[in-house]
């Protein structure tokens, strides 16, 4: 938190003095490493640079996980944490698919169902954290299991087998890169303007930096804490739809592999950009999925993905810890 304060004052100073006073080494090294890895894969991995690979195997999965991670970014900016993201996504996707199969809903209504469910669960999360004063960790961990149980309940009621096939037009949409990347870009634009160029985003950052100070300056801090969880719920619901459409079927436990991305991407973005930001999250989504994609081409088996991601997460946290120690923070 100190760092972002420092950064803001530094930025103010640099604009006042009209020159760049503060160099963000994290950002520069992040881009250098990105370029380096990209070059290595271009040389080493055949067909890494082909358009199909870059769009279908890299940008599409990256955009699915970026949407869920952007929701998490908003929550983390407000000083919270949400462990239930992956399960909200799974629940929203399954519920939307089940209701569309049951009542023959068109795709926009299916999307709306998912958004309502995601928003509702986000509102429950946020309400318990912001208005009842329970640790976000405990609340969202409980919601993980509630959402998981609800998924089983829905599949018991409406799905006759182990999974539910989606209509052809929806699954066609799901494998269309334009649809997936388009949603991701739309969410990115909205959240970027919301977080970095609007009053509300400034309030959320203030709440995340210092709860008491924002309370004394008259910000309704409970409402803004609540709002972060609701936005996160909407993002999760969108991911649920993107994922379900991409898989072409709705099943229990879909999206659980995106749990780790929800932590990894915002924190990597923070380490590189110096603060929680949606642009940082997008950058790290591309970065991580580039590494995984390149490793697949080089012949690493999928079993190692969890080790790679877990190790990266631990390494990134370690780097940010070293940054803290070097800067001499408490």
């Amino acid at each position: 938190m100190e760092t972002s304060n420092m950064k803001i004052t530094n930025q103010a100073k640099s604009t006042l003095a009209g020159k760049k006073a503060h160099i963000n080494y994290g950002l520069i090294s992040g881009f250098i490493v990105f370029a380096l890895v990209f070059t290595i894969f271009t040389i080493k991995a055949p067909s890494f640079l082909s358009k199909t690979n870059l769009v279908r195997n890299l940008a599409m999965p990256a955009s699915i996980s970026a949407v869920i991670a952007m929701g998490m970014t908003i929550v983390m900016t407000g000083g919270g944490i949400d462990l239930s993201i992956a399960n909200i996504a799974g629940l929203a996707g399954l519920a939307a698919a089940a209701s569309s199969a049951q009542f023959d809903l068109p795709f926009p209504l299916m999307l709306l169902t998912a958004l309502i469910i995601g928003g509702l669960i986000g509102a429950i999360n946020g309400g318990l954290v912001a208005y009842a004063g329970i640790s976000p960790f405990v609340v969202t961990l409980s919601v993980v299991f509630l959402a998981h149980g609800l998924q089983y309940l829905i599949s018991l009621v409406s799905v006759s087998g182990t999974y539910l096939m989606l209509p052809r037009n929806v699954s066609n949409l799901g494998v269309n890169p334009l649809f997936q990347i388009g949603i991701c870009l739309a969410v990115f634009l909205i959240l970027y303007i919301f977080l970095d160029h609007s009053m509300y985003g400034r309030f959320i950052k203030a709440v995340g930096m210092n709860l008491n100070a924002s309370n004394f300056s008259g910000i309704p801090y409970r409402f803004y804490t609540w709002l972060t969880y609701v936005i996160c719920g909407f993002c999760c619901a969108l991911t649920g739809i993107m994922l379900t459409a991409n898989e072409g079927l709705a099943r229990v436990g879909s999206g659980e592999s995106y749990q780790i991305d929800g932590f990894l991407l915002p924190i990597l973005g923070k380490t590189i950009f110096g603060r929680f930001s949606v642009q940082g999250t997008i950058f790290s989504a591309l970065f991580i999925y580039m590494i995984i994609n390149g490793m697949f081409i080089l012949g690493v088996t999928p079993e190692y993905v969890k080790i790679i991601k877990g190790g990266l997460l631990l390494g990134i946290i370690l780097v940010s810890g070293i940054q803290k120690v070097v800067r001499g923070e408490n």
């Binding site: 000083g79 009842a132 299991f145 079993e303 997460l313 631990l314």
Partner: protein
Amino acid sequence: MKVNSQVLQKYAVFGMLILLFIIFSIFAKSFLLLDNLMNLLVQSTILGIVGFGLAYIMIAGEIDLSYAGSIPLEGAVFAALLSRNTSYGFSIICVIGIGLLISLVVSQLVTQFKLVSYITTIAMMFLLQGIWYVLTGGKNVFLAEEQLNREWIFGNVGPFPRIVIFYIILFVILFIISEYSAFGLRLRAVGTDPESTRASGLNPKVYKTCAFLIGGAIFAIGSILTTARMSGALATSGSNLLMPVMTVAFVGQTFLGMGRPNIPGVFLASLLLAMIDNAFVLMQLPIWSVPMANGVILISAIYLANFGKKEIIQIKF
């Protein structure tokens, strides 16, 4: 109103325990049989033992979720060692060694680099799950009857299974250490206010490391018991424990309105959860409703315990 909320805070968990016991005795057939009650105690042991480990780490003001990754990993190592006819003693020492090693890494990350323990241990959990997956190929490791003497752990001494007696002995030892020894008092001081403990001449890093090591050793014991109970190392042994153990440790905080993690609270909460688990099965409710009930109980217990104060709790990175 004030008195009411205090009474609520103090006896919420007790009340819930007794209320659920009465409800289950009425509605669940054969819940009150001696065999079933013994079964319930056995069910509560593993939960409670892992919960003790977590409670020790929480007393020192940190948290450790890596048990969801380390328990399946240690269980797989234990099963693999036993199936290669290694002696019990050596296998147990190996597993506890692995547990201590993992905890040492986590504790050094948390204390030396000032990382947030929540997120560090989640990362550790993912990493360990990945390692488990690569080592076992995602398969369960089962043990034959002659490779693992289950009777030795689960056999009866008088009316009580041995594991329950072990659980109660462990409970008494850990209870005395945490509440009535200088070490326990210092651990609690480190947990509440590391800065003043440093000022009064204690090194918080050492005590936090100790807490993590104790926790890691207890998680390893829990992993051995889980493996013994299931006659093999199962893939789900970690994720099945994640929620109940968290619930036990957090609900335990509300015991007698203490508001801090403590061993007797964990003991009581483990009974509460085992009771729900047991009675839900007897009442033929679907198995996935048990974690849901855990979640509802966790949230409501903490809500009751928090009744007066409603400060927003933030997690900083």
